[in-house]
Point group: C3
Chain length 306, copies 3
Amino acid sequence: MKHLLDPMDISVEEIDELLDLADNIMEEPEKYREVCRYKKLATLFFEPSTRTRLSFEAAMHELGGDVIGFAGADNSSASKGESVADTVRTVECYADIIAMRHPKEGAALVASQNVNIPIINAGDGGHQHPTQTLTDLLTIRSLKGRLDHLTIGMCGDLKFGRTVHSLIRALSRYSNIKFVLISPKELKVPRYVKEDVLKNNENVTYVQYERLEEIIAELDILYMTRVQRERFFNEEDYIRLRDSYILDTEKMKLAKDDMIVMHPLPRVNEISVEVDKDPRAAYFKQTLFGKYVRMALIMTMLGVNA
Amino acid sequence: MKHLLDPMDISVEEIDELLDLADNIMEEPEKYREVCRYKKLATLFFEPSTRTRLSFEAAMHELGGDVIGFAGADNSSASKGESVADTVRTVECYADIIAMRHPKEGAALVASQNVNIPIINAGDGGHQHPTQTLTDLLTIRSLKGRLDHLTIGMCGDLKFGRTVHSLIRALSRYSNIKFVLISPKELKVPRYVKEDVLKNNENVTYVQYERLEEIIAELDILYMTRVQRERFFNEEDYIRLRDSYILDTEKMKLAKDDMIVMHPLPRVNEISVEVDKDPRAAYFKQTLFGKYVRMALIMTMLGVNA
Amino acid sequence: MKHLLDPMDISVEEIDELLDLADNIMEEPEKYREVCRYKKLATLFFEPSTRTRLSFEAAMHELGGDVIGFAGADNSSASKGESVADTVRTVECYADIIAMRHPKEGAALVASQNVNIPIINAGDGGHQHPTQTLTDLLTIRSLKGRLDHLTIGMCGDLKFGRTVHSLIRALSRYSNIKFVLISPKELKVPRYVKEDVLKNNENVTYVQYERLEEIIAELDILYMTRVQRERFFNEEDYIRLRDSYILDTEKMKLAKDDMIVMHPLPRVNEISVEVDKDPRAAYFKQTLFGKYVRMALIMTMLGVNA
């Protein structure tokens, strides 16, 4: 694994190793406090994403490394007409590994073709965000104990939601996965995801629902995403359905005792704050898992060990 | 002291301990260089304040710790509609202590109710800025040798000046404090400060003046703040009084030899630059004291010792 | 060398020492990893320059030091009306050395007159950028083995290009330097540079050309800069000449086997990307040399040794 551009760049075996390493870091963080001493991470955020940037920076610091970079607003070289290739070739002189976010699809790929240090794609447009997918896998494996034999509800905007598509692809490599796809008609999983991943895959079955309350009782995992009003074709549908995509304590009463609720965050109102106190709410734990999986990833890509 | 939200959150005894620790750090900084190794401070500046942010960051580095955060412009999560509560719950996964500045009053309180790590209020709107008050107390104690038996002139905009109100409250707990309040009529100390703090307090007396030159000779400390033209009700008053609120070498000639001049900075023209060379000018020393009191505060709130 | 404001602040002997130190750092970087432990660099970028800022920050980290600062957008004190003098006097309380970039000529000089810690001018308006000049000198000495007996082509906009003027001045102190100045008529080296440096200097000869292809074969070094269309007086000239100022593989065929191509970067299209693969392309190496010369400079100005 030279670069991490797409969640599917990593084999199931490599994911296992990465999550095992993350587990080990969580158990004995002291062992890893100096492993990246004298190494530098560059966080090149051509568009801002505070949450993701801080997660990478915290990860590097907890490994004893240093961080340089820019957060979006101050990237003056791009505004002077410099290409992404030239920017990363420059930063290669300053850092040992790069985490980059860019509004254009394929920017991380271009970067990876121009440098000899590892590139981590921290989001390229609506395209890929592989460390979110690894975060989701570590969260599931840590809280449910496995990545197979799971019934996973995905609720909200399944059409435009990049994290949902990546997670579907990633989980479809494990056996006996049942996807419960809950969305308004307009915001169903796109046909190409169905054709590529869900159909003709012996590991996977899937069903589609329009209302969360109809099916929440059967889920091991509920993965929430936001439904934006402007994505609905007509106001009538929006009014009829909107409450189905807001998770509240009433709907939680219908769910299993050991179901977990995930969300890539930030949330707006799609999960009521009263749900936060429910022990099944896993979305802030997910943020914590995200830091640990990034620590494991940085170590793996830099080839350092505890 | 779990969080520091309001200058009055700290008892006189706790302030003594904090200032003693700051003294000790100033005397032997080498002893403290590693006490926060492996700890992280998050500086969450929802509005920019370069001076305060850099003071916190320098303080954490001088204790051996790391810093992550945002400086205002790049806080993308807030712009995506995330609540302060969610932001700090996320950052709790990344850092051991948070210093936050926010344009809304009460934001730091909300933050403190949602996390298990210490929150330091680095300014919430026009409300509170407790580390400025601690800075002022350390400056006074260091340069005057005491926090009681003092005649303190406060000059300029005493109506809207948050730092002045906080310092009045803080000092009113020490004995024999005489406040000399120097301001235009329109910008006097608000009635609620007078009712709450100045009246019926055996520790405190106060007098009010309109012109600095009338009373500067009696002061042990002169605390300057800026008077903005637009705060005056009429142009005539402004022209008549403006020079009274500008400290220059002429007015300094009237003052005691051991008076000290303080200012929370940044200044514009309310202290003439020629005064900077006067040994009684203490405002840049005040900045230095601000770093040391923040070091003491971070250590105390993290529960670490040298 | 208390401050570094102008490339000519440093004597030839001091430059030799600085480049020798940079050489040594490149050979044995491990020896220098802790020399600035417990020191802090402040990067005060009153206007953004990502490339220069990251170079300084990487340099300080590779010496074991810490970094605080601002990147342009978030400098709130300046927007509150604070003077440069006051800003640096504040930052003097927080850091051991300052690298500052400012849009106004002379800002670094003003800063240096107000503090007791070293100031490095990282660019003040169209004025000076001495660490770029040091970078260029280290690149030439490292790749050509000497700073004298050289034929140096400078191509592009020689009128407004600050880096070109500084490099001409710096090299004119070494013996037997031949400058080949290649530019459109409108963008020739200004008269004052000719009068001050090129004429009546026994070390230096110079010739002027309008087209790169006419003279590239004689060069030891080709220093490229960008020619902006709007700098031409008329469209006809622009169309006639523009291709002469774009370096491509065709022109590289005419050059010596050991010529090196330099560029201060960022480039837009003045060097074709196909040239990047040519071993004579030295502009990304130049970026790397820039980091090492800044490491040597920080060490020298802080007075630390390995």
